[in-house]
Amino acid sequence: MAAPDHLFALRNNFYLGAYQATINNSDIPHLPSDDAVEKDCLVYRSYIALGSYQLVINEIGSSAPTPLQVVKLLALYLSGSENKENTILRLQELLKDAAIGSNPTLRLIAGIIYMHEQDYNEALKHTNAGGTMELHALNVQIYLKMHRSDYAEKQLKIMLQIDEDHTLTQLANAWLNLAVGGSKIQEAYLIFQDFSEKFPMTGMILNGKAICCMHMGRFDEAESLLLEALNKDAKDAETLANLIVCSLHLGKSSSRYLSQLKLSYPDHMLVKRASAAEESFDRAIQANA
């Protein structure tokens, strides 16, 4: 029997978006040093996911191991636009360093940052080689962003071979199913359903289920799931965005959610596209006026 995986619960929580639970349960005694670094990475990434960038930047000193340094870079990158270019320069430096250039965490963060930059080619340069489940999962995500579900499927097959029951495999499977749509939606729904039976409910699982429901035209059910998610986190961008869509389909007013989203996340895709559409509309009116 393999040694019990001390970080299993922690990782799982992180993958499923239970960030606070990751932080709260991070006090694991007697961890080997490798695991301890990974644990710290997970905890700091959880803080980043919760938006506490400054905390991460302050806590990670210059003597911290490479993976933590990279996580700090991510925090720096996300903390404000003025740091972005410096961060990317620093990142490129690290990537060129032969000693640490192939560090999986480094490559992962690089992938994430380039994905934020929407420079998918650059991102894939670093992540394509794979090596960890997270890298594979990120690949799937990038391919999906590029609308190349065929490549995403290939990545998924690799993941299925490594560990079919891994949370990330299942999650990636669900993403792919959602992207492909059609009859695959049902499978995605079942995956999220399994998650909800196995693990504590998180906003991510609820949103996943809700999206499946919306795809299947069950907007009432989707709404109740989304409202449940909103109860867990009233400011979650994805929940708000999904609620807006769902409300529109149900013929309900979505303006409050929309204004909330605009206030909290002016850069959100939905906001941008809505305002872009408004502009186009205005232009069209002016053109016709």
Partner: protein
């Protein structure tokens, strides 16, 4: 073979099951007949009147009788209720081998070493027919269950079938002359009422046993040639069908199984063998180390067999009778015969779903044991003991539920047990390597995982988890993390029942139920004296379970009780409100409506949902000593109060709960001194002075009454007490009252009247009653006591009472939650009985309060002569 019960004793030669009760008779070589309860495992009675071995014994089908025959040539008919032998039938001239009652007629057939078979009428206690023809010991003789036939086996190597139709006709219309004639015939010609129909020859040695098939025209026989032979007969002839070889020594007994197409035989080779009737091959063999088998018996109604051997007997069955089933929401999947069936609880619809592979009858007891169902994939796992533990995976086609009769090619595998752990994953136990294999629906291994303890079975424990059972403990194991989530020491767990919310689990072992949380934190353990069979959780968290003969409940605090008794064992599948869904041993779905009041009531009490308790008290009939004792024990005497009609119990409960009103009402009903006294004590404790006064009045406890008046400062009544004492001529009482009143003149007067002149003088002098003192001094003459000089005496005057009249501030009585509501309810219910009493009580008190004790009253009291001066 599933052994249900075993005894150790002298050699067992005869056995008989009772048709209704869980009893078996065993007649021993030592001459004793034992009556056992094989369910409880206790010896109920023993009958010891035969001299020498008792070889034959048989219960009557409906009367409380049994018959026995022994080596003392005697046939005895016993009444087991009266624990005695009713009479003895004499006639045989040698050992008696078997005795048997007829199903309908008042007949007994007996076989004897005197080479005859006799039929007796146990009502007239006479021998009505002697069947002669065998020319060696007759080893057994039995009636056909339906037709007028007897089959016998003898050491003359033949089996004979006798036609007793004539005997029946005669008995059914017993005209006098025919009876007389037949009597003559019997005496002269050895009887014409019973004639040999067939003589079956084929065995090479003496035949020990022969038996009819319960419904087909078949006979089976076993002989010293070590063979079992199967015979067939029609109206005109009988012939040998086949021979079953296998026993290594004399076959002592053989019989057809009533429910399955099998023959069971036993032998002096120390084995019991099971044979397939149609294939005529051996199916199973059970051996004992040292004991030769002598006798077999089958239960007339249930699927039970018994065998007697050199050192005792065993009661056993050949196959499990528990249908494999799995509950999923509103659906119950279960296996009956060779079909998977679906039962919907809400509509009570029962449908055949798909046929499954029938286990070959070459291997008994290998039918499906457990069933696991995955609702999303509509897949079913059927586990059985075949091939040392194996499973089959069937996918139920969504559309074609119903008719199909072709067995789909199931995916199979070997494994101790197999269960679904996720919608498309199932776990299979590999006992040899103590591993669990996780497989997908294509039956491919996805993952392997070692198990933390030596596991011999796995059960479902929520998605991704397994409950592993070892000999003495269970653990919950997370398959993904390979972590033990919880463990619990338990007796050997046989079944696991999860509550609907998966928060609680009931672990059923043979004689115990353990309730634990989902992390296996122990909550409670219940022990049963008889086998626990099944159980299910109701919606409120009460565990409803069945034993062999009861449906019972278990509350979260381990309180348990019987809901009802059962005639036959059932397997609970679901509990919904007060309806219990269950499967019986024939695989039929049944619903049983139970009275859930008792446990719902107790549960409400436990959960402190007193509004429910109250409404239940109002609306339903809950009573009985058990309930009162329960409430008292749980600290709810005030609730119990509302169930009780018996005044004494009511009084005690009322005192216990401090409900003085009800106590008073009850005391009035009972009207005994002791009760009044206790009422007074409780009222005093609460400070309810008027009740105390009332109680004292009723017990005529004047001394206490006076003191009470003193304490409460009720001077009027105190002076009345003085009057009473006067009337009663009670000097001490008068003096006390005068003292309490501070009435010096009166005191002096009393002392004077009592003849204590010196005391009277001193009292008067000290209190400055000069004229009285002088008068007394004159009367005393020379004997005037001298008063101490130079001392200022303090006068003996009672202190002024703190509070005058009325009740003191009352002690707060814990009326609690049931205040008001219950009182009203109680009143309502009791109105019939106590209307008068209640009314009276009100008035009574008024009288006491307003007028106090009237002299009239007192006069009456005195005239009655009830007053005992000794009281004072």
């Amino acid at each position: 073979m599933l052994t249900k019960f075993e005894t150790k004793s002298n050699r067992v030669k005869g056995l008989s099951f009772h048709s209704k009760r869980p009893w078996i008779l065993a007649s021993l070589h030592s001459g004793v007949i034992q009556l056992w309860d094989y369910r409880m495992g206790t010896l109920i009675d023993r009958f010891d009147e035969h001299d020498g071995p008792v070889r034959g014994v048989h219960f009557h089908k409906s009367q409380p009788l049994f018959v026995s025959g022994g080596d003392d040539y005697k046939i005895k008919v016993w009444n087991y209720k009266m624990h005695r032998c009713l009479f003895t039938l004499l006639g045989h001239l040698d050992y008696i081998r078997t005795v048997q009652f007829h199903n309908e007629y008042p007949w007994i057939v007996s076989a004897s070493d005197d080479q005859t078979i006799r039929i007796w009428n146990w009502q007239s206690r006479t021998c009505i027919s002697v069947l002669t023809g065998h020319n060696h010991y007759v080893m057994c003789a039995t009636f056909h269950p339906k037709e007028d036939l007897v089959v016998s086996a003898s050491l003359d190597q033949t089996v004979r079938v006798w036609d007793i139709g004539a005997l029946r006709k005669k008995t059914v219309s017993p005209a006098d002359d025919i009876l007389r004639l037949s009597q003559m015939n019997t005496d002269l010609f050895g009887g014409v009422d019973a004639v040999v129909k067939y003589v079956l020859e084929g065995h090479d040695r003496g035949v020990n046993w022969a038996a009819f098939h319960p419904s087909l025209p078949l006979i089976v026989s076993g002989a010293d040639d070590r063979q079992v032979k199967l015979w067939r007969m029609n109206d005109t002839k009988a012939w040998e069908v086949d021979t079953l070889r296998g026993h290594m020594n004399n076959v002592s007994c053989v019989m057809f199984h009533a429910r399955q197409d099998i023959i069971v035989s036993n032998s002096e080779d120390k084995s019991i063998r099971v044979w397939d009737v149609t294939k005529r091959t051996g199916v199973q063999t059970f051996r004992r180390e040292h004991d030769r088998f002598w006798i077999l018996a089958a239960h007339p109604e249930m699927n039970l067999l018994a065998a007697g051997h050199d050192s005792g007997m065993i009661v056993f069955k050949l196959e499990r009778e528990r249908p494999a089933f799995s509950v999923s929401g509103d659906n119950l999947y279960y296996i009956k015969d060779r079909f998977l069936r679906l039962y919907e609880f809400s509509t009570q619809k029962d449908n055949q779903v798909i046929p499954i592979r029938r286990p070959g009858s070459t291997s008994l007891n290998q039918g499906p044991r457990t069933l696991s169902y995955s609702p999303t994939e509509n897949a079913v796992l059927v586990c059985s003991d075949a091939d040392g533990g194996s499973y089959e995976l069937y996918i139920v086609p969504k559309d074609s539920i119903g008719r199909g009769d072709t067995v789909q090619e199931a995916k199979r595998g070997i494994g101790g047990s197999a269960i679904f752990v996720a919608r498309n994953r199932f776990a299979v136990l590999d006992k040899s390597s103590n591993q669990v294999l996780v497989k997908n629906l294509k039956n491919e291994v996805v993952k392997k995982s070692g198990l933390p303890i030596a596991t011999d079975a796995i059960f479902y424990a929520g998605t991704g988890n397994l409950l592993c059972r070892a000999e003495d403990k269970v653990v919950i194991f997370d398959l993904q993390q390979r972590l033990v989530l919880g463990d619990l020491q338990t007796p050997f767990v046989k079944y696991v029942v999860w509550s609907n919310d998966m928060e609680s689990v009931a672990l059923l072992s043979k004689h115990a139920i353990i309730i634990a949380s989902k992390k296996l934190t122990h909550r409670c353990t219940l022990h049963e004296t008889i086998r626990v069979k099944s159980g299910a959780w109701d919606d409120n968290g009460v565990f409803i379970y069945t034993t062999l003969n009861h449906i019972k409940y278990c509350l979260p605090n381990a309180d348990s009780g019987i809901i009802r008794t059962l005639d036959v064992p059932i397997y609970i599948t679901k509990v919904s409100g007060n309806t219990i869904f269950c499967l019986d041993r024939d695989g039929k779905n049944r619903t049983i409506v139970i009275d859930a009041t008792e446990y719902v009531f107790k549960l409400s009490l436990l959960k402190k949902r007193y509004d429910q308790v109250m409404s239940m008290i109002r609306s339903s009939q809950l009573c009985g000593q058990a309930m009162i004792a329960y409430l008292q024990q749980k600290g709810f005497p005030e609730v119990a109060l509302h169930f009780v009609k018996d005044e004494r119990t009511r009084f005690n409960l009322a005192l216990e709960s401090g409900n003085i009103q009800i106590a008073v009402a009850s005391a009035k009903e009972i009207d005994e001194k002791d009760h009044w006294y206790r009422l007074g004590v409780e009222a005093l404790r609460q400070g309810n002075a008027s009740i105390v006064e009332y109680a004292y009045q009723r017990t005529k406890n004047f001394e206490r009454l006076s003191f009470l008046y003193l304490v409460t400062g009720n001077m009027d009544k105190l002076s009345k007490m003085l009057r009473i004492a006067e009337i009663k001529n009670d000097v001490m009482g008068q003096f006390h009252n005068a003292l309490y009143l501070g009435d010096v003149k009166e005191r002096v007067k009393i002392l004077e009247n009592a003849g204590h002149l010196p005391l009277a003088y001193v009292t008067a002098a000290v209190h400055g009653l000069q004229d009285v003192a002088e008068r007394l001094a004159a009367e005393l003459g020379d004997n005037v006591p001298t008063l101490p000089e130079g001392r200022v005496s303090s006068l003996l005057m009672p202190p002024s009472p703190i509070l005058c009249g009325g009740d003191w501030p009352l002690l707060r009585v814990m009326k609690g939650i049931f205040e008001g509501g219950l009182d009203n309810a109680g009143r309502g219910a009791e109105e019939d009985d106590e209307e008068a009493a209640e009314g009276d009580w009100g008035e009574d008190l008024d009288i006491v309060d307003a007028n106090g004790m009237q002299n009239g009253d007192i006069a009456v009291v005195v005239e009655d002569g009830e007053v005992q001066p000794a009281l004072m």
